[in-house]
């Protein structure tokens, strides 16, 4: 999926002065509007860089500030109480003994607002993807058209993907909150697909930027037809990729710090698609004893 961050342009005099190019890279944030590239930025070919200064993009509204302060302090109060009385919103004994949990269900627009849909239009593609509530507000329907036509910009070679992912949870003062799924060993979904193969992506949000592209993936093969199916995918099957490339050295998915989960369709089959999800949950499958599905052979052996 294309990265949405854009590089802000430097001040014109510094940009044009050759002598200051070295200085600018060192002192950029201090002297210009240049924001350092913490994450890789992508700018679509043919689009001019955004020269708007950072301070012009921020909405300095007193009312928004006051409401924000009130909201966050209220959240802080409830978080402190929750810290003492419960774990992740439920009593500790329930958290310790539970064997199943429904994490995401789609019964209202509020549930749907926790998800975000995207497609290759970010890189100039022509796929369409929409996310809405299903019949009787009992499920979520992700539908659209996959278009594999490559945008003619001279740079892009591949196109044709659509996906949707859960927004990261935010705590008080917009701190990141993670899911703790250590009590479970499988992902359990009730879906109604169209026969297309989907990819499930789990992001564990590493702390340092050199691991920012690390993500765990596995496939979800759906059956077409009017019947619902329940898919159970053990976490031991998920494999590690970085920027979409499967890594040689594989490691099991650690479940104590999960950030988001997403679904991607990129099977290079031009045409409409549809996926209906009833719920996404977790399961402790006692019969599943596999810890990690991929054997690691010793490299650089002695002989």
């Amino acid at each position: 999926m294309a990265v949405a961050f854009k590089l802000l342009a430097s001040a014109r005099p510094l940009r044009e002065c050759q002598r200051h190019k070295v200085l600018h890279s060192l002192l950029g944030p201090l002297v210009t509007n240049h924001i350092s590239k913490m994450y890789s930025s992508y700018r679509r070919p043919g689009i001019s860089p955004d020269d708007t200064p950072v301070w012009k993009k921020i909405d300095f509204s007193t009312e928004k500030a006051v409401n924000g302060v009130k909201k966050h302090f209220k959240l802080l109060k409830s978080e402190i109480a929750e810290h003492v009385t419960s774990y992740d919103g439920q009593p500790l004994h329930v958290h310790l003994w539970e064997e199943t949990r429904v994490v995401w269900k789609f019964h209202s627009q509020k549930d749907l607002d926790k998800w975000i849909a995207s497609s290759d239009t970010e890189i100039g593609g022509k796929s369409e993807a929409y996310l809405k509530l299903g019949k009787n507000n009992q499920s979520a329907l992700f539908y659209g058209t996959l278009n594999t036509e490559v945008p003619r910009d001279g740079e892009t070679k591949y196109s044709g993907y659509c996906g949707f992912k859960a927004k990261p949870r935010l705590g008080v003062f917009n701190r990141k909150k993670y899911y703790d799924w250590t009590n479970f060993n499988s992902l359990h979904l009730r879906v109604r697909g169209d026969g297309r193969p989907w990819m499930i992506n789990i992001f564990t949000d590493p702390y340092f930027s050199h691991q920012k592209d690390d993500m765990y993936h596995y496939f979800m093969f759906t059956r077409g037809g009017p019947y619902w199916e329940e898919i159970t995918i053990p976490f031991s099957k998920f494999f590690l990729c970085s920027q979409g490339r499967v890594q040689d050295r594989q490691f099991p998915l650690w479940l104590d710090k999960i950030n988001t989960i997403g679904f991607t369709l990129g099977d290079q089959a031009h045409g409409p698609f549809q996926l209906e999800i009833d719920f996404i949950g977790l399961l402790m499958d006692r019969a599943h004893t596999e810890e990690f599905a991929y054997e690691q052979y010793e490299r650089n052996t002695k002989f």
Binding site: Y87, L96, W97, T182, N183, N185, P206, R249, W254, D256
Partner: protein, 353 residues
């Protein structure tokens, strides 16, 4: 690489000897840096992305603290012309050095790295981090103890005990709990280091023994979460009993060994008229006691409605006898009589005085 482990252990041993033998700030700083570098491969041993993350966090934190240490030494040299740690008379240097050592040890408000680093590493490496790696900074604190600011240490110690207890209240990951427990135990060492440095060293010895026993037991049971402790008794009752004794000793309950340093520390604080500090330390230690008792309750005291067939323990055999763990746990219990002896000695001293 087959020789890496002996090299790492040799480096750790040599650097620890340098801490014990030298008082020159630059030499101690070199030893601290080598110590940090030597432990990094142990932390990142598994090469899991989280282990690499933990070792990176550890390196950055310790490097920053080392930079502050050499800065304080340089400042003191400029002001007084001395490089000896025992002659750190410049106030700014003393405060910078103290804060740097608090970062090294992981006390509030520089404690955030401890649970994150411990969560990313294996339990065996965690023993090194929580015991051996604290030797250097504690030796430095011991050397500067006559010059240390008691107000600073008492505030940091009280906050550490409070914050560590508070953070552990809804924690279910065992390694993070041990990290927070370590922060709370360090608070007891720091609070008394000015007035009774030898008592601080005794506290550290008992803490090291007990936490090693606890972590070795947890490693033996392959548990990373309280959920897996729940079914540990049915799988390995003896190991669980050993864990129970270690946990209760860590919590400072009599008649186990962990009670002695806490009792003596409170005694000493009261003798120094630091009544409020003693009271606050006692009250904040109740929070830590809560999560120790929770671990004990879930592992040894109850049989919750969980099946014994778990993915964690299905294939690993848990030997019921282990010499190292038994030895360490015995060390936490053979001091049963010590509390009575100490009381008798103290009474005798009062009666003679």
């Amino acid at each position: 690489m087959p020789l890496s482990q002996p090299i790492i252990l040799a480096t750790l041993t040599i650097t620890t000897l340098i801490f014990l033998l030298s008082t020159h700030l630059v030499l101690i700083w070199v030893a601290l840096e080598l110590n940090t570098l030597a432990i990094l491969p142990l932390i990142a041993h598994k090469s899991h992305p989280r282990a690499i993350e933990a070792s990176t966090k550890y390196f950055l934190t310790q490097a920053m603290a080392s930079a502050l240490i050499i800065f304080s030494g340089t400042l003191n040299y400029e002001m007084t012309g001395s490089c000896q740690i025992v002659e750190l008379t410049n106030l700014t240097s003393m405060i910078v050095l103290t804060l740097a050592l608090f970062i090294k040890v992981g006390l509030v408000p520089f404690h955030f790295w401890v649970p994150e680093v411990l969560q990313g590493m294996s339990t065996t490496a965690a023993i090194f981090l929580l015991t051996w790696q604290k030797l250097g900074p504690l030796i430095m604190l011991f050397l500067i103890s006559p010059l240390i600011n008691f107000e600073l240490t008492s505030v940091v110690a009280t906050l550490s005990s409070l914050v560590a207890g508070w953070m552990g209240l809804n924690q279910t990951q065992v390694r993070k709990l041990m990290a927070l427990s370590s922060i709370a135990q360090m608070a007891w060492i720091i609070v008394i280091i000015k007035y009774a440095p030898s008592l601080a060293i005794l506290t550290f010895y008992i803490y090291s023994t007990t936490i090693s026993a606890t972590l070795l037991t947890l490693d033996k049971m392959s548990t990373t979460s309280i959920k897996y402790l729940i079914i540990s008794f049915s799988k390995s009752p003896i190991t669980t009993t050993i864990l129970m004794i270690s946990l209760l000793s860590l919590s400072g309950l009599p008649p186990l060994a962990g009670f002695m340093p806490k009792w003596l520390t409170i005694n000493q604080l009261l003798a120094e008229k630091a009544i409020w500090i003693a009271l606050l330390m006692l009250i904040t230690s109740l929070l830590s006691l809560f999560f120790y008792l929770r671990l004990w309750y879930n592992s040894s005291s109850t049989m919750p409605p969980s099946t014994t067939n778990t993915t964690r323990l299905w294939r690993k055999s848990t030997p019921q006898s282990n010499f190292t763990i038994n030895l360490l746990t015995m060390a936490t219990t053979t001091l049963l009589l010590s509390t009575t002896l100490m009381k008798a000695i103290t009474k005798q001293e009062y009666s003679l005085g």
